[in-house]
Symmetry: C2
Subunit: 325 residues, 2 copies
């Protein structure tokens, strides 16, 4: 299968007939936005061995590359419109790898009702490398940003925290969770759930939002820095899955274990700062969109992130989250 | 230097204060388009060892990654608006590599008056990998595509053809050109010139356009296939630089040598199909934008690309252009 056969036979169907995709035969794609709309653009790169594991199923890798970008749109409150995908294929894998990627991508583009409108396909002597650009839209001026948190805001988080980090440890053979717990956390690592529906509903409700990709504490620190505020988070309030509860039960010091969950990346939940008066509406919006919204702390004057342990004392962590260099 | 210091201290200045870039502190960027405008999006990935050489200067690699994308915008007739950049940094190079990349990117963003509005920065155990997304705009309905070529159209090309391919050979030590010729062709390989000003002027004039990235013959074949026509190209008319003339003088069979130039990639010139009545306007537009426009053949009924040699006979080439797999 040649590169051009691959584009024509396998990729062009992923454009779902979107006119601006030009059947993926051209140098670029067309996109328009209506009056009163802004486009929101985000782009993330995933590298095998850095952002996913060599043995992760290729269809799930395709989904993860898409979903981490959709999660960024969710954090901005944007409705997704279209995606672009540029892939550097490794020397191993051949047509089977490409076909598995196409299968996963096709399933997720159907699931999220999105067209693939462009991108690039090439080869690399190195690891499989996938860059996705996700394009969303929202009413002009309604974007959620990291910079809007205000002292006195409630800090809330969707879903549960720390599962993906446990999933990574489980896949690396560093844990021996029960089958059910292992299945849950590995899927959370391999195939995150972007909180798109909730993100869009938080426009006009939340003051600030970010998706938890580097780790809860690290991403809270991004909000603190950008908003010029402090965030005080209670580890005891951090929402936990049954799987992470199983893991916690086997740990020694609970605060240390909770801090580890708060430092693990890849959850792709939303961390939201909002006024207390808006909490009920946001809570209902979360339920209606298939997730939960849990208060875990408050925005304060000052700076940085303070983690409070089970008895209210400050917990210090060495590495609050992931940094590449 | 941490990843976040790098973004704050070195990258955020590249946003040139563009409001939608949000100082590169957020999960995504904002972009709007005015009434009667469409956005044009393109994305290409460059991999060290595949699209550029390990010894290519890093500032020129930054420029090439940007320029190959701007060339795609030029081929669509779009005016560039903004760019996103996702980079997987190799384990070697460190801060010096990043600083050289920043220097090249800053120079070119100034040169093209463009803001960096987002992207990603990560690491890879493999080769340096750069993905750029370029966003342009044009009046709704005015886009140039590969699909508009009509039998009877003139086929023209900007600049000169084959230089970049010679540059690659020179850099690999496979040629021994004069110093002046070597300097010319290596720069053509390392730092192409996107024909943005001309591309925008060809809106409403040209029937079809593509940028010559895979090789003249291969890219002509893309137009032929997408437009459902044939293209007959005269190798004798193919515009050549002094450097390629020097190389040609040392070759045996002239047709074979010309076909090699027509099969080499990375020129990033525009291949344009237009009605004869529009040629004078396009020719003047090319001169005014600092390049040339040379007629090299015609669009025919039929299909595929026919290369005609010095005496008018058909020249066959085994590999008309670059394909990744």
């Amino acid at each position: 299968m040649s590169e051009f056969d691959f584009i024509r036979d396998q990729l062009s169907a992923l454009s779902h007939g979107y006119p601006g995709a030009l059947n993926l035969t051209d140098d670029a794609a067309l996109l328009s936005c209506g009056p009163g709309e802004e486009l929101v653009l985000t782009q993330d790169t995933l590298v095998c061995g850095v952002h996913f594991l060599e043995n992760d199923p290729a269809d799930l890798v395709a989904k993860k590359a898409l979903r981490v970008n959709l999660s960024d749109l969710a954090a901005m409150g944007a409705d997704p419109v279209a995606v672009m995908s540029s892939i550097a294929w490794p020397e191993v894998g051949g047509d089977a790898l490409r076909e598995a990627w196409v299968r996963g991508m096709a399933e997720d583009l159907d699931h999220f009702a999105l067209p693939l409108i462009g991108g690039d396909t090439t080869v690399t002597p190195g690891p499989w490398t996938l860059t996705v650009t996700a394009i969303g839209k929202l009413p002009t001026g309604s974007v959620l940003m990291r910079s809007g948190a205000q002292a006195g805001d409630m800090v809330c988080v969707t879903g549960t925290i720390g599962d993906a980090g446990l999933g990574l440890k489980q896949l690396r053979g560093e844990l021996s969770l029960s089958e059910a717990a292992a299945g849950h956390v590995t899927l959370r690592y391999q195939c995150p759930e972007p909180r798109l529906v909730l993100g869009a509903k938080l426009r006009g409700i939340a003051h600030a939002a970010i998706d938890v990709s580097d780790g809860l504490a690290a991403d809270a620190a991004h909000i603190a820095q950008t908003s010029g505020v402090g965030l005080a988070l209670n580890l005891a309030d951090m929402p936990r899955s049954d799987a992470s509860a199983e893991w916690l039960a086997g740990q020694g010091d609970l605060d240390t274990a909770l801090a580890a969950l708060a430092s693990a990346g890849d959850d792709y939940e939303l961390l939201v700062c909002l006024p207390a008066a808006a909490f009920d509406a946001a809570y209902m919006a979360a339920l209606q969109s298939g997730t939960s919204l849990t208060p875990i702390g408050e925005v304060t004057d000052g700076s940085g992130v303070t983690l409070l342990g089970m008895t209210g004392q400050t917990v210090t962590i060495d590495t609050p989250g992931f940094t590449h260099f």
